[in-house]
C-alpha cells in the first residue's frame, strides 16, 4: 500500500527525462541503472536467488473522427476524439526459497523501489509454502545494450493537426456515397520505454513504437433491418511516422465505401462443404488462434488451465505431423515492423527466430527461461512479456508467420483451382475452444468463387473446422510476392488478464472442403 503522502506528492523524476534518447547511445541511461541497482541490492540483502526490475513508461495516443448524420436534419456531423495516456512505474520479480514473488508501484523513487522489492520477497516466501518444485531458470547471457524500433520520425512529435487532417480526408472519402450511413477513421500511436536489469548482469534499455490505423464504412437498410460495416485495417506496424503514408488509408476509403453498399444487398451464402481462399488480413487471425496459441508451452503443461485453457498440441506431438507439407510456421521476434519485435524479451533474452512447425511437423514450443528445461532445451526462445510495469512477465507468443509458398504459386492460380468456394477478406467474428480444436471464424467481406473465378460478393458467411483437420486441408499458399503481415493488438491471456500485440504473416492460402455456415 502506498502512503497518502506518496500518492499526493510523488517526487518521481519525469519519465521523459529519465529515459532520454536511447538512439544516441549504446549504454542505458545512468539514472536508470542507478534505480535498477536499488532493487538488485535490496534483493541480495533478502537472500533472493534471482531478481529483475523493469522500469516502464507507456504512451498511447488515440485520434479518431466519425462522420454521421444529425438526427432530424440529416446534416453530416464530424465527431472527433483526441486522447492520450501516459503511464510510468516499475515492477520487481524475485525468486526466494525457489518461489516467485512480484510487486509493482507507480512511484519511481529509490525508497519505493527498495520497499516494493521487500514486498516481492514477502510474497515469494508465502508462495514457497505451496510450491511443488523450485523454479529453475535456463542460462542467459548478460547484455548491456540499448535497442530501439527502427524509425525515422517519432510519431508523437507529429502535429495533431496533420493527423486530424488525414482522418478528415479519409472519412470524407468514405461518406461520398449517400448510401453510407456513417464513416470513421482512427490512428493509434503507442510507445514503450523500457529499462530492464537483472541479477544475471544484464542492463537493457529499449524503445518500442507501434502505429495502428483503421477506416470503416457503415450502411443501413431500414426496410430489411440489416446493417453492415466494412473495415479497412492496414498492417499494424512497429515503425515511425514515415510508415503512415504506406497505410494507404485514403486510397482504400473509396473501396470500402463501395464494398459496404454491395455487402448490404449481397445474397446469403449457400452453406455446405466448400473450398476456402483466405487472404492474409483474414488468415492472420486463424494462424493466431489455431497455431500460435496452441504451441505455447505453458498452455500445453496446464499453467493456463483455469482461463485461456490447455492445448491439443501435447508434448507427445513433438516430431509428429499436425499440418500439411505446405505449412511451415516460424516464431520470430526479429521480423521487421512486426508488433512483437523487440531487442530483448522481459527476461533479458535476446530476440531470435525459431521453427514451430516444419513442413507440417511440430518442432518447437514457445518458451521462457523457467520453461526451457521442461522440453529439454538449454535456452529460452525469448517469449517472456508483460503488458505493463504493473504486471508479471509470462509466456506470450512471438510473431508467428506462415512461410510463403513457391514463387510460381499466385493468387490467381489458387483461385483457378477452386470449383465451389469462398474468398474471405478481413477480420470478423472468431471463437475457438480452450484446447484449440474447434474454431469458427467469420470475415469482413466475402466473395463467391465458382468454376475457378472470383464472382459476386456474398454475405452471412462463417466457417467452422477442427484445427488439425483444417491445417491438413491446406493445399497451397501463394508465393513471396503475396506475403503480408498483419497485427492483432488485443490478445488476452493470463489471470489477471494481460493484453499483447503481435503480428502474423502469410500469403493467400487455400483450404479444401471446409464446413461453411450461414449466419444471421
Amino acid at each position: 500500500m502506498f502512503s497518502r503522502r506518496d500518492f499526493l506528492a510523488t517526487s518521481a523524476a519525469f519519465a521523459g527525462q529519465l529515459f532520454g534518447s536511447p538512439q544516441n547511445s549504446k549504454i542505458p541511461a545512468p539514472d536508470l541503472e542507478k534505480l535498477g541497482d536499488v532493487a538488485l541490492r535490496e534483493a541480495r540483502k533478502y537472500k533472493a536467488t534471482y531478481c529483475d526490475i523493469r522500469i516502464v513508461r507507456l504512451r498511447d495516443q488515440r485520434v479518431g473522427l466519425r462522420l454521421s448524420p444529425e438526427r432530424g436534419t440529416g446534416k453530416t456531423l464530424a465527431v472527433p476524439n483526441v486522447a492520450e495516456d501516459s503511464s510510468f512505474g516499475f515492477g520487481v520479480r524475485v525468486i526466494v526459497n525457489g518461489a516467485w514473488g512480484f510487486a509493482s508501484s507507480p512511484i519511481v523513487t529509490p525508497a519505493e523501489i527498495a520497499r516494493v522489492t521487500g514486498e516481492a520477497v514477502i510474497i515469494a516466501k508465502a508462495n514457497a509454502a505451496i510450491q511443488p518444485k523450485p523454479v529453475m531458470l535456463a542460462a542467459v547471457k548478460a547484455y548491456r545494450d540499448v535497442w530501439s524500433t527502427p524509425h525515422e520520425k517519432d510519431p508523437f512529435s507529429v502535429p495533431m493537426a496533420e493527423k486530424l487532417d488525414l482522418l478528415r480526408r479519409v472519412t470524407e472519402e468514405v461518406k461520398k456515397n449517400a448510401k453510407v450511413f456513417s464513416g470513421s477513421a482512427s490512428l493509434n500511436l503507442r510507445s514503450e520505454d523500457k529499462y530492464f536489469c537483472s541479477s544475471e548482469g544484464s542492463s537493457i534499455q529499449q524503445l518500442i513504437l507501434q502505429i495502428y490505423g483503421t477506416a470503416d464504412a457503415t450502411a443501413v437498410d431500414r426496410e430489411n433491418n440489416v446493417s453492415r460495416t466494412r473495415t479497412y485495417t492496414p498492417t499494424q506496424a512497429s515503425a515511425g511516422w514515415e510508415y503512415v503514408p504506406e497505410m494507404n488509408l485514403e486510397e482504400n476509403a473509396s473501396r470500402i465505401r463501395e464494398e459496404v453498399v454491395e455487402h448490404l444487398s449481397a445474397p446469403p451464402v449457400k452453406p455446405g462443404v466448400k473450398d476456402l481462399l483466405l487472404m492474409p488480413n483474414h488468415l492472420m487471425l486463424t494462424i493466431h488462434e489455431s497455431v500460435a496459441h496452441p504451441t505455447e508451452l505453458d498452455r500445453a503443461l496446464g499453467y493456463e488451465a483455469n482461463y485461456a485453457g490447455t492445448s491439443y498440441v501435447t508434448m507427445d506431438k513433438i516430431g509428429k505431423r499436425i499440418a500439411s507439407e505446405h505449412c511451415t510456421f516460424i516464431g520470430d521476434r526479429t521480423s521487421p515492423r512486426a508488433l512483437a519485435t523487440v531487442g530483448y524479451d522481459d527476461e533479458g533474452v535476446k530476440a531470435s527466430q525459431f521453427t514451430i512447425i516444419d513442413k507440417g511437423i511440430f518442432r518447437n514450443y514457445q518458451t521462457t527461461r523457467e520453461q526451457a528445461h521442461l522440453v529439454g532445451d538449454k535456452e529460452s526462445h525469448g517469449c517472456s512479456q508483460a503488458d505493463s510495469w504493473a504486471t508479471v512477465p509470462f509466456q506470450r507468443m512471438p510473431n508467428v508467420y506462415l512461410q510463403a509458398g513457391p514463387r510460381e504459386t499466385t493468387l490467381e492460380s489458387l483461385i483457378a483451382g477452386i470449383e465451389d468456394g469462398v474468398l474471405i477478406d478481413g477480420r470478423g467474428s472468431y471463437s475457438i475452444d480452450q484446447q484449440r480444436y474447434n474454431f469458427q471464424f467469420g470475415g469482413d467481406a466475402f466473395w463467391e468463387i465458382k468454376g475457378g473465378k472470383k464472382g459476386r460478393m456474398i454475405s452471412r458467411v462463417s466457417y467452422q473446422a477442427r484445427t488439425p483437420d483444417f491445417w491438413q486441408a491446406c493445399d497451397g499458399t501463394a508465393g513471396p510476392a503475396y506475403w503480408r503481415q498483419f497485427g492483432t493488438t488485443g490478445d488476452a491471456k493470463g489471470e489477471p488478464t494481460q493484453i499483447n500485440s503481435i503480428s502474423h504473416g502469410c500469403s493467400p492460402t487455400r483450404f479444401r472442403q471446409i464446413n461453411v455456415l450461414l449466419t444471421d
Binding site: 499526493l8 483526441v82 486522447a83 509493482s104 478528415r168 475452444d433 480452450q434 474447434n438 467452422q464 444471421d520
Partner: protein, 450 residues
C-alpha cells in the same frame, strides 16, 4: 488508499491549473492482490498499485483528453497543457454537451474494509483448501484468488464532485484429471472475501471433474438445455448493447422495427423474464454515476417479458426530447457492467434438471463472440462439464459443443427459471443470473476439447 478529502484536494489542484472554461478530472487509484495457482502449486502472486489522473478540457466545443499517472505538480501541469494543446487543434465536437453542475450521488456499494486490504494470509488458505482436496482425489487444480480495492473520484469546473470506493473479490478453480480426461469448474465472485467458500468450490469442481470423465459424443443439433447461472449470465448480459436508444433509432439493434420505430412497450419475452439494473444491490459493486456523470438509479429493462426501457445518453435524450437514462453498463455497449440482474425463482438446479425429459446440463461457456451485432447472434463453446439429462436425471457425460445463438432467442425459448446468484464469466462479464431451462438451443458442432 486515497480518502475523499485527498481526492477533492487533488481534483481542486488540477482544476486550478486549467485555463480552458471547461475541465473535468477523473482520478482512479487501485490496489490489486492475487495468488494464481496451477498444477497443484502457486505459480504467481502479486501486489499491484496503480493510479491515474485523466483531464478532459473543452473550449468552444473543442476537447482534448490526457491521462497520466505521475502526480507531482510538474506532471499535472504538463498534463493540462497537453490536453489543452490537443483541444486547441481538435475540430469542434458537434455532439459536445455543457458540463453538469453539482450532483447528489447515492451510496451504491456495501464496502468491506477487510476485502479491500486482504493479502496473502487471507488468500493462500483458500488455495491450500482447493489444492489439498484435489491432491486427495489424484486430480490437478488451477485457479485464481484475487481482491481489488478501487477508488474513483470525478470533479469538474462547474462544481461537480463525486467519490466512490469499492472492493471486490473472486475465487475460480478448474480441476482436471491428471491424464487430461476430464475437467470441472467452479467460481464465486463476492464483495466480501470472507464469504467465499473455497471448500464448497473445491467440492463442486472436483465433483464435476469426476462425473464428466470420458465424455461421450452426442449428435450436434438443437437441444433443450439447462444452463447453470454462470452459463445463463454469459449470454444474457450480452443483450445490454441492444438497448441503446440511439442505435435502435438508427435501425441497428434487435429492438429496431423494420422500416423504423422500436419494440418499446411490446412483449418480446415470456412473462417470467424481468431484467433490471440495480446499483444498490449489495451483492455486486456498481458506480454511483453514469458515464454522463448523472446519479445512477435502478432501471427495469424487461418487465415481465415486455421491453420497458431504452437507454438514452444525454446527447441522444436532448435530440429526441427524452430524459437521459440513469444507467451504467446497459444500453451503451458496455455489457461487462456489474449491476445487471435477471430475476429468478425459488426452484433449485436439481428441480430444473428434474423437469427435463431429455436435454443437456451446461456448466458455463467460453470464447463467446458476436456473429451478428444486430440480432446479437453469438458463437462460443461449452466448457468444464456437459451432461445428458434423461427423464429428469443426469445420465451421461457428453463432449463439448459449439453453440450459435442469440440471447434474445434464448430468452424467447426459455420455459423455466431457477435461483439467481451473482456470477462472473470466464471472460469477465458479471451479473446476477438465474439458472434456466430453454428449448431449441442450437449446438451445431462438437468440440474435442476437454
Amino acid at each position: 488508499m486515497m480518502t475523499r478529502d485527498e481526492a477533492q484536494k487533488l481534483a481542486r489542484k488540477v482544476l486550478g491549473l486549467a485555463t480552458f472554461p471547461e475541465c473535468q478530472v477523473t482520478i482512479t487509484a487501485s490496489e490489486q492482490a492475487y495468488t494464481r495457482f496451477a498444477n497443484n502449486g502457486i505459480t504467481t502472486a502479486s501486489l499491484n498499485l496503480r493510479h491515474t489522473v485523466a483531464v478532459a478540457v473543452t473550449r468552444e466545443g473543442r476537447s482534448g483528453v490526457m491521462t497520466v499517472n505521475d502526480l507531482d505538480d510538474a506532471s499535472l501541469k504538463n498534463a493540462i497543457k497537453k490536453a489543452e494543446e490537443l483541444a486547441a487543434i481538435a475540430p469542434p465536437n458537434p455532439e459536445h454537451l455543457p458540463l453538469l453542475g453539482a450532483q447528489q450521488y447515492p451510496e451504491t456499494h456495501d464496502f468491506d474494509e477487510r476485502t479491500a486490504n486482504a493479502r496473502a494470509p487471507e488468500m493462500i488458505p483458500h488455495v491450500k483448501t482447493i489444492i489439498d482436496a484435489s491432491i486427495s482425489r489424484k486430480m490437478v487444480a488451477a485457479g485464481l484468488v484475487e481482491r481489488t480495492h478501487r477508488v474513483t473520484a470525478i470533479a469538474n469546473s462547474a462544481g461537480l464532485f463525486g467519490y466512490h470506493a469499492s472492493a471486490d473479490s473472486q475465487l475460480t478453480t478448474t480441476v482436471r484429471m491428471a491424464d487430461g480426461s476430464s475437467s470441472g469448474w467452479a467460481g464465486q465472485p463476492s464483495t466480501r472475501l470472507s464469504q467465499i467458500d473455497s471448500k464448497q468450490l473445491a467440492a463442486v469442481a472436483i465433483e464435476k471433474c469426476g462425473r464428466w470423465k470420458n465424455p461421450q459424443k452426442l449428435a450436434p443439433g438443437n437441444y433443450t438445455v439447462v444452463l447453470e447461472p454462470t452459463a445463463a449470465g454469459d449470454l444474457v448480459r450480452l443483450m445490454a448493447s441492444g438497448f441503446s436508444a440511439r442505435n435502435t433509432d438508427e435501425g441497428r439493434t434487435f429492438l429496431s422495427k423494420r422500416g423504423g420505430g422500436n419494440l418499446l412497450g411490446e412483449k418480446v419475452f415470456p412473462e417470467f423474464v424481468t431484467i433490471r439494473s440495480d446499483p444498490f444491490d449489495p451483492r455486486q459493486p456498481s458506480s454511483p454515476w453514469t458515464s454522463d456523470l448523472l446519479p445512477t438509479s435502478a432501471i427495469t429493462w424487461v418487465d415481465q417479458g415486455m421491453i420497458a426501457s431504452l437507454a438514452y445518453d444525454r446527447y441522444w435524450a436532448g435530440k429526441t426530447g427524452k430524459a437521459p437514462t440513469p444507467t451504467i453498463g446497459f444500453g451503451f455497449g458496455a455489457p461487462a457492467g456489474g449491476s445487471i440482474t435477471m430475476e429468478g425463482s425459488n426452484a433449485t438446479l436439481d428441480q430444473l434438471i428434474g423437469s427435463v425429459k431429455r436435454g443437456l446440463l451446461i456448466t458455463h461457456f467460453w470464447y463467446i463472440r458476436p456473429v451478428n451485432p444486430q440480432t446479437l447472434q453469438q458463437t462460443g463453446l461449452t466448457r468444464d462439464g456437459v451432461f445428458l439429462i434423461e427423464d429428469g436425471k443426469l445420465t451421461t457425460p457428453v463432449m463439448n459443443f459449439r453453440f450459435m445463438e442469440s440471447p434474445v432467442r434464448l430468452l424467447k425459448n426459455t420455459v423455466k427459471l431457477g435461483q439467481a446468484v451473482r456470477v462472473r464469466g470466464l471472460e469477465g462479464g458479471m451479473m446476477i443470473a438465474p439458472s434456466l431451462v430453454a428449448n431449441d438451443f442450437p449446438l451445431p458442432s462438437i468440440s474435442d476439447a476437454i
